[in-house]
Symmetry: C2
Subunit: 338 residues, 2 copies
């Protein structure tokens, strides 16, 4: 019998990352955090830390050019990258963008992608400082690297959550996942709801201002951005912090658009809110004694609302508190490329 | 008549880079150099500048997995990236590596690539601090970002060359291009020459030690690494510096292996030395008054030899001084992906 040839599918992306994570530091000086958070952290340089994050977007895997205008793709690629800087409380400063383009791709497509990238640079005061340009065989691919700064005393990691900390998210959940299903034609909805949900998928907002506000307040204990889905990213925080969490079903914020879509299509919006990816909200943990002060930071005039969605527990694993008061073990069903 | 749809082939990689280079700086504070040198330069942080360089390697464009063992591919990807840090006189510190892998790729291939990457991290005391892992549809792709440091007073750019500066290279030229043609079966040669030339293509050495030595000496005026070929990269230096150059044919250093291969295959080794890419030697310009001091730096015991290959001229353009004393205008024929 022939031996099975293992592929990435057999160990998964996270398994692979774990397998390469060991033995990666040969100049540990000035490395604060390597693989395993939203950004790598180096420094300090004076009282600042440098944040670096990279993202890869592959045609046919992360996007399909038929369903996203190239300028919007450029914008989204940057937004996703910036969200990692936001998740550590940083200010984004410099961007590097490499692109591999099939030889037959019309120049205006490549230029539109760059127009989207540069529009984001303008909107978020970033410097586009470099990258690489290459041909590719069949598919377009983007690789972005963003560099940011954060005061050393303010940085927030995934690993700071403690039992009884309160969980907050910075916006409604599940909209982007619903938008993707609308774009793919799996669901239907009327405007303005359809437009809003599609926009949530196409035009995510990096919560940089909110991230800085939270970091500067020094009231939070941990932070992450929601790229894979609430449960999946919450598990990252819990594993890094050695804790568990309980999510309050009634507290999970849903948009009117998502609720309308769910009613029309007879589906459970909670599924999308808990497990749908690409919301790019921030998930923040706040010690109970800071609750009032934290909510005051996000009172009228702040860049966004925050919603309490649960609590960190000493008991590991994730549980969902149902409206009837019962508690149910839950498992993330994040998106897997392999 | 249908209008022709323009592609990257119509404006070329450098034309495209020029078209996106404008309007890229929205926080010019702390940006010393953006697009247009071997690395972007930010800072200063205390008396140091940070160097950042990115490289993209696409299967079927930059490499063919049938002709390069995956571990060697991983090593080479890092070497190429480190060469950009060497070209500015920097010390390489941190590496980020993103990889897109076709679903059917055997796991041992992906792991071997990473073994090569980690071996280079060990050899050059780098920290592998992050990256991204994704599926791809058909082809493997690597995107690397390296971060280095250089003392502010020592950095070398492409733009510092002045008329009468002497041109040096840090090793023989054309070996990597000859090696590629051997690997592809276009030429033949006997060992040990064949092995040495293939190794020049597969296992380029980043000249980090030599780059630091040159920068620290403060005797040079400009530096670049030879990735596209001597003439092509020399033109980058000349354009950035507003000068021209004359290359002395008799001074171009050729290895014994290349000369043997050329004789066996009835080809002109000078073609490969002037226009073959991927040598990854450093090209350095040195003011005439520093000549003796510079050559003393590279006397016995230094990490490599340096070879004078020509001189910078006030007159723009590139010229080749033939052994008979005549002067010939030359044009780079660099490699083009599109």
């Amino acid at each position: 019998m022939a031996e099975k040839v293992l592929t990435m599918a057999d160990i998964g992306e996270f398994g692979f990352i774990r397998s390469i994570q060991e033995g990666c530091r040969f100049s540990p000086d000035k490395v604060i955090k390597g693989i395993g958070d939203d950004c790598a952290v180096i420094g300090p340089y004076a009282d600042k830390l440098l944040l670096i994050s990279t993202d890869l977007l592959v045609e046919g895997v992360h996007f399909v050019l038929d369903t996203i205008p190239p300028e919007i793709l450029g914008r989204k690629a940057v937004a996703v990258n910036l969200s990692d800087i936001a998740a550590m409380g940083g200010e984004a400063l410099h961007l590097f963008c490499s692109i591999a383009v099939p030889v037959q791709t019309p120049l205006r497509v490549t230029q539109s992608i760059y127009e989207g990238i540069k529009a984001m640079c303008r909107d978020y005061r970033l410097n586009l400082l470099g990258g690489d340009t290459s041909a590719s065989r069949n598919h377009l691919m983007l690789s972005l690297t963003v560099i940011g700064e954060v005061p050393e005393a303010e940085i927030l990691y995934r690993h700071g959550a403690r039992p009884d900390d309160i969980l907050y998210v910075t916006g409604t959940l599940g909209d982007a996942a619903a938008g993707l299903r609308l774009i793919l034609g799996d669901l239907s909805a009327q405007d303005p709801f359809a437009e809003r949900l599609k926009a949530a998928h196409h035009r995510p907002t990096p919560f940089l201002q909110a991230g800085r506000l939270i970091a500067r307040s020094r009231l939070a204990s941990a932070m992450i951005d929601l790229s894979d889905g609430l449960l999946s990213d919450l598990r990252h925080v819990c594993e890094a912090s050695g804790v568990g969490a309980e999510v309050q079903q009634a507290g999970v914020p849903l948009s009117e658009s998502l609720e309308t879509l769910a009613a029309m299509n007879d589906l459970d919006p909670l599924d999308l809110a808990l497990s749908g990816g690409e919301d790019y909200r921030l998930l923040v943990t706040v010690p109970g004694e800071n609750r009032a002060a934290f909510e005051k930071v996000f009172a009228a005039g702040s860049p966004c609302r925050v919603y309490p969605v649960g609590v960190i527990t000493a008991e590991k694993g994730l549980r969902l508190r149902k409206p009837d008061g019962s508690l149910q073990e839950v498992e993330p069903k994040g998106y897997h490329h392999f």
